[in-house]
Symmetry: C2
């Protein structure tokens, strides 16, 4: 049987678009001789639909879309993902289901058993876990059909009590098919392939894996759909970060798989992966919000430089507008470096001094500030005047402001709320400062796009004379390691001190992280590239006092 | 046996403070002859601890606190709430547990079975559900000990398959004890008492219910801990919105309850409840963040007027600073109304024109704006200049900015991001405009505090000449009904149109709600008073296109 993997980019709640895409893809695959086309988890409504799932009307529309797709399944079958209503009065009202559509109607359904409810996942919020498991037989092919997490429980410390594949395996299926919505992080491709291979090693039959691709605001889906033979070899796969179809022939008698397509080689360095993921994230955010043009404040520093380069690649340099907003504390070379970058990237740029706005605001506050010393208040006013200017241009001309803060700053609260923390989407908010440098080198891998001076000069917010980040923060190579160990690895202060970090520094950094939850609460969505990003995947109390 | 209900206000993660409070309360109750003191769900660590639960060190600290409390339990027992580690390798690593401490050690444990994972709750994110249930016997008293949601499944459409109280009831307990962290909304007191009475009607034994009190950022806990006899009569209870202890005597032989305390009468009007909840919410946010002083922009309109009155009640009028920020589009009476209110409340106020800042920013943008017509860009600049001035004062003098946006505005995106949408906490973001008027009348119930003119004049943002909210929005009495039916009741467009609303208006309003998710993503935490507030309890896709 010829089977197709359809790796598509869906829009949440846009049933017309998703249905058309799925139907067109079924037609394309039919023309290439496929008898079965497999789409991703919740492909009909897009993943994650979040609380739209609580609207009856949303579920009705999903059922209507299923009917429309099923009507096109004649002489070819399709497996799509969509919610289904739980007929049992007890428990949650929905299942997260894989629908096999054939002969113009619904052939059979399989429901998800293991519902990820951690990090960015909230599935038990909506779905009842499935407790009974049966293989599905289509045209003599016996399929162990599962959904994403269902095959992820084969680890030494399993998150779930149930193991659906163990039950299905006892029924002697020919093939495993898993439909997924498995988001990217820089470790995920290796982790995921390891899990897939653990399954083929355990169950000794081939595995078809179909993931969605594209960005859903902060969640980036890399795709990497693939077919493994029963030995765990990748026989065919779709490209990362792109829509695609991949066909293979399966012989149920011998359980062998054949594909004429070469297996694409995947980017392997962490930095290259982050780069590609962020470019897709910017592009999809704009496309799905219905916008084309970005604006950002270009300081001459490394963060805004990398953001501009990524945005130019994602949206086209003609759609990215860089605004330099120097103050009296900006160094001369900052403006030169920023101009050089805009020229290198062929982006439109303007220079607007913040002096008038800053002076005028300070003048209005003078009767109250009197002769109190210069403080963080004046620093923040500079950053906020920049934001007012940028947002004024954005509102007047239809740009979306890109946020340029990095993860190190977001972690310790080194940034001005309603100032440089503004933006529609945060490009680098999940990229530590030391990783931003790596991205800069990657962008410059063939030629100097980002001026070397932006890379080598000491980081500075330039909000007071001679200011450097290291005046108020540990050096970034130390800071980022402490942050990674605390945020990603959830180490305790004692762990950190035992591994050699200075005790006072550890306590100061952890205190800054915990005390700045209120600031992060108001930041834009952050494109997620790590296993633990700020945002919906890390939910901390604002008024909590642990380690503070 | 004399039993005490201890309704306390905890700080998340502050084990020292929570432990001291619990130990002091045990001592107080001992002196009053109590043999058992009952505290709320997760009282040891505070509720909700959120992702702090993923830190081993946090759990270790909780175990240490349990030991410290147990050491004080001699001649008296205590039931406290805290996480416990799941000894089974399979499943989540923690239980949400009730600990009975007696004779200086842990006497027994009961784990929560029904883990709320909807609206603001995320419990399955952290906890494994308990699957086996046993009554606990202490000094001959057989207790059916459960945790919050465990007794909430007695409804026609149960959320859970399991029913812990059915199992426990079969073991013939003398008494039900339920420890809870059940947040306030204006319907919750009636709903909750109904649930408690459904349990006494079903199981025919008395029920002890202990809730926490106080605000945890946006989540407001009203307390209302109480004891019901087996007929569902309230025999004793703690006051709403305040810490308190309430003792009663239980005769296990006759299963009768006696209390000398009068049962406090509870505020019954929705508006009075919202008022009291918001005052507690403001007070606790400041107390737990370690701040004392609030600042806000006072426009002369109803929203900022009500916010100021609530803040003055919560923090003391000497701790609230009102700043009037008129523009050329502000009406003269706006300033007069604002001044009158500040004087009525005895709050410090100042008047700072935004003219200079606005003119200066516009001047800087003039080379780009040229002679393009006045648009939303200029409107937003006014709102943002106000925010820069307010935040400047806040940063200089240590105030926290209060946000004054209401729920109707937040719903349709009628507000300026980084302008009037700024603030540390949103006071009225869960209060529809029509409910804000009700609050104003409530505040004026004994004398005119809020000038009548602020209440009766047509609402206006005053960002362009002669502007009224009704220029761009439906009248609030219509708008709020559509919003309530869509947000709280999750009705479809067809439902709304069928109930008599104009089709074009319905579609326009729903589109505005869905399209402004990106704006709400960056708003401050919103004090939650309704069953469906914006924030962590309503999780919607930003790039979704359902009904847009």
């Amino acid at each position: 049987m010829r089977i197709a993997l359809a790796q598509l980019n869906y829009i949440i709640g846009d049933f017309d678009l998703n249905t058309s895409k799925i139907i067109e893809t079924i037609e394309t695959c039919r023309q290439q001789g496929a008898e079965l086309v497999v789409f991703a988890e919740l492909s009909v409504c897009g993943y994650p639909p979040r609380d739209f799932l609580e609207f009856d009307d949303f579920i009705d529309k999903s059922y209507q879309a299923i009917d429309a797709i099923a009507a096109q399944c004649n002489g070819i079958a399709a497996i799509v993902g969509a919610p289904s209503r739980n007929p049992d009065i007890k428990g949650k009202n929905l299942f997260n289901s894989a629908w096999l559509l054939a002969d113009g109607k619904v052939h059979s359904l399989a429901h998800k058993a293991l519902l990820p409810t951690y990090d960015i996942f909230d599935e038990y919020r909506y779905f009842e876990p499935c407790r009974t498991f049966d293989c599905i037989t289509y045209k003599g092919l016996k399929i162990a059909l599962t959904i994403c997490e269902d095959i992820w429980n084969l680890v030494p410390d399993p998150l779930y009590v149930a193991s659906p594949m163990d039950v299905l395996h006892a029924q002697h299926p020919d093939l495993m098919i898993n439909i997924a919505a498995s988001p990217f992080n820089y470790d995920q491709q290796v982790t995921r392939l390891g899990i897939l291979r653990t399954n083929t090693a355990q169950y000794r039959i081939p595995l078809v894996y179909v993931n969605q691709v594209g960005a859903q605001t902060e969640l980036l889906f890399d795709g990497n759909s693939c077919v493994l033979d029963s030995d765990g070899n990748t026989i065919a796969s779709c490209n990362a970060f792109a829509e695609g179809i991949c066909l293979f022939d399966f012989d149920a008698g011998t359980k062998t798989i054949q594909s004429e397509l070469p297996v694409p080689t995947t980017e392997t360095t962490k930095t290259a992966l982050i780069h590609d993921a962020l470019v897709m994230g910017i592009r999809d955010y704009f496309a799905k919000m219905g916008f084309t043009k970005a604006i950002l404040g270009l300081s001459g520093g490394i963060d805004s430089a990398v953001t501009l380069a990524l945005a130019a690649e994602a949206l086209g340099s003609e759609n990215v507008y860089a605004v330099l907003l120097p103050s009296e504390y900006s160094s001369g070379h900052s403006v030169d470096d920023a101009v050089a970058l805009a020229v290198n990237l062929n982006c439109k740029y303007d220079i607007i001094s913040i002096k008038d706005g800053y002076t005028s605001i300070l003048g209005s506050l003078q009767p109250y500030f009197k002769d109190l010393p210069f403080s963080v208040a004046e620093e923040n006013i500079q950053a906020r005047v920049r934001a007012v200017l940028l947002m004024g241009l954005a509102n007047k001309f239809g740009y979306i402001l890109l946020n340029t803060s990095n993860k190190s700053e977001a972690a310790v609260g080194y940034g001005t709320l309603y100032g440089d923390m503004c933006g529609g989407i945060s490009v680098l908010g999940d990229v530590y400062k030391t990783e931003v440098y790596e991205l800069a080198h990657h962008i410059n891998r063939e030629q100097e796009i980002i001026p070397v001076n932006s890379i080598v000069k000491p980081p500075s917010a330039e909000l007071r004379p001679g200011q450097k980040d290291s005046d108020s923060l540990p050096e970034y190579d130390i800071l980022d390691k402490i942050l990674y160990n605390y945020i990603e690895l959830r180490q305790s202060p004692a762990d950190l001190i035992a591994s050699g970090f200075d005790e006072a520094t550890v306590k100061r950094v952890l205190r800054m992280v915990n005390m700045n939850e209120w600031k992060r609460h108001q930041t834009p969505p952050i494109l997620r590239v790590s296993p633990k990003a700020f945002g919906q995947g890390r939910r901390m109390p604002i008024v909590g006092r642990y380690l503070s």
